[in-house]
Symmetry: C2
Subunit: 403 residues, 2 copies
Amino acid sequence: MKFQLQKTDEYSKARCGILETDHGTIQTPIFMPVGTNGTVKTLSPPELSDNGVQIILANTYHLYLRPGDQLLAEFGGLHRFMGWNGPILTDSGGFQVFSLTDLRKIDEEGVTFQSHLDGTKHRFTPERAIEIQYNIGSDIMMVLDECTPYPCEYEYAKKSMHLTVQWAKQSIRFWQENSNPYETDQALFGIAQGSVYEDLRKECIEKLIDLDFPGYAIGGLAVGEPKSERNQTTDLCTDMLPSEKPRYLMGVGLPEDILESIYLGVDMFDCVIPTRNARNGTVFTSKGKLIIKSAKCKADHKPIDENCTCYTCKNFSRAYIRHLFNSNEILGLRLATLHNVHFYMWLVSEARKKILDDKFVNWKDQLLEQWKEESLQENKKIINRKDHPEYSGDSPPGERKDR
Amino acid sequence: MKFQLQKTDEYSKARCGILETDHGTIQTPIFMPVGTNGTVKTLSPPELSDNGVQIILANTYHLYLRPGDQLLAEFGGLHRFMGWNGPILTDSGGFQVFSLTDLRKIDEEGVTFQSHLDGTKHRFTPERAIEIQYNIGSDIMMVLDECTPYPCEYEYAKKSMHLTVQWAKQSIRFWQENSNPYETDQALFGIAQGSVYEDLRKECIEKLIDLDFPGYAIGGLAVGEPKSERNQTTDLCTDMLPSEKPRYLMGVGLPEDILESIYLGVDMFDCVIPTRNARNGTVFTSKGKLIIKSAKCKADHKPIDENCTCYTCKNFSRAYIRHLFNSNEILGLRLATLHNVHFYMWLVSEARKKILDDKFVNWKDQLLEQWKEESLQENKKIINRKDHPEYSGDSPPGERKDR
């Protein structure tokens, strides 16, 4: 993997770069749609590439349990198994394991847990997490870390951060001394923890920088903290992280969060929001959110977004998509997902263009203002807690609600 | 609509023809995938045409209730609403209404029923069924009929057949005296009833022929009768029906049923089996059925069907599709449906070629023999009543299990 920083915005920390992997080149800032089980829910691989997707995220925990990393190795890795020839990033499985609060036990060497599928016992160590990711064959692997909840006691966050750093050391050693079954390169990213405590974040990042990872993630955010704390911590982290390495903010987020984090110097994002919200009937447009099932769409001839060039918007009315949702038709989930993924890819590619033109800050502020107004006008009437992804109850066990 | 009989097989009643509609030309024999709610479940319109689909079926009852035929008229008809520019056939809604056994009451003028969605009261008459289909704008409309169950008392079948004939008279008069809101032609097919009673079928068909419909359907079959009775009745009907008009066997069927009915001189078919079975994990291949979820597919690198050229078979292994089904991933339903629809379209287009070459009978017998053997070898071990479509419990109210 090779990262080249192309440009930093004149008026903010926003930046763009090029990330080269053996499965293709990624232009940052970039959003990675989530393909937990080796499929971005409802979409086929050509639908991803046709809509500007450059890299997807897959979940080590889920793939390890089903179909199993050994089976993936037999098939030549996840790329071949799922028919996606572009870059893949895998998380370490740590986040899912730690979310199994009652089913896991952590110790200094690793974590023992029960499968949410069948209750069988398993154990992840920093080394094992890389072994599994070697079998998956992802282009970017993540180290095993402990993602602390929010809020988190200072003492616990401190102890946990030290464990994460210790595991990072073991991980990079294992990665340097071993190799995967394939001929492709697999990079390894370190993950900064430390909750919202400035001194802990600083200490963690200093120690990770000493280990010289090919890239760095900011973990432990998007777990329920207020936006102000998230932005403050992100700002602190990007101030410290080396400019010549890619920076990945894990689990973020809503379109507005992505814009704010690009502003703070983040290069990479992943989140289930575009795909999950689509399946719940919420679509994103250049003018704000739209609840496609709402009565106002009943006889609406307009596409979801008149400015959008995706297959859904070029071919179908809001009324038809609403009808599909009301009739529980899978095509509705597909069309909404396709649009939302297209919208997220449009958002980051547009951000990139604006950064290259030194117009990012104005453009971002205008969009945020527009969405805020739209939200005040429209959504107050409609959105209830159920419609908001962070409160939607459809997460499978072991999968974070907002990821 | 114009039908041209091109050729009748030298060794059987099998035939091929060309059916011209304002939305395109159909080469018979043809299979019509079912798009109950204005979408062939899981598939997009281009996926239909790319896989050889020439005409789809939509359900008047379902579309009348949701989104409503008035809304469809506002959108210029179903073709525009759903983005499918090819031919559409609609049933009359009668079949669904009559399947609401406890929620409907029949009289000589029509049938009053309660919606399975919200319990509201509605009434269909022969004229109203055409009015609704006028708003839908389908290329081929069906008359309102009563589809008798199996088994059916002779006296009831006789009375019901006379009612169906009376309604057919009213229908053709209404059709001749009225027109749709669009500029496209809508043909009207009569439906032969009479259960499995030879004299009733004969009487019904004689009277329908007098009314000179543009095409004729054989109704009242595929409702649980033994195959021998179905074939006998089909044989009788195609003997009597005029050769220069298209013949449509409603609700049939499995691949073997389609071949046997083509042999008996049927031109058109519809059935939910390819789409519904796909969603239950049963796929059809040139060598017989395959339960994709079965353990034997776990590490199988082969496509569903090595002889198949569909997108699914060109890109994905049985192991991957099995994994998608096990993980409840929608892409699995899509890939299996795409394959099954492709298979059904291959089957009828291959039948057509063989008829043109006077090789139909041998080819059909070979395929049937092959499937029978495969079924003896493989499926006896696996298939239980649940896997069979006629016993699967996933039918929405008002939709016949095998349609």
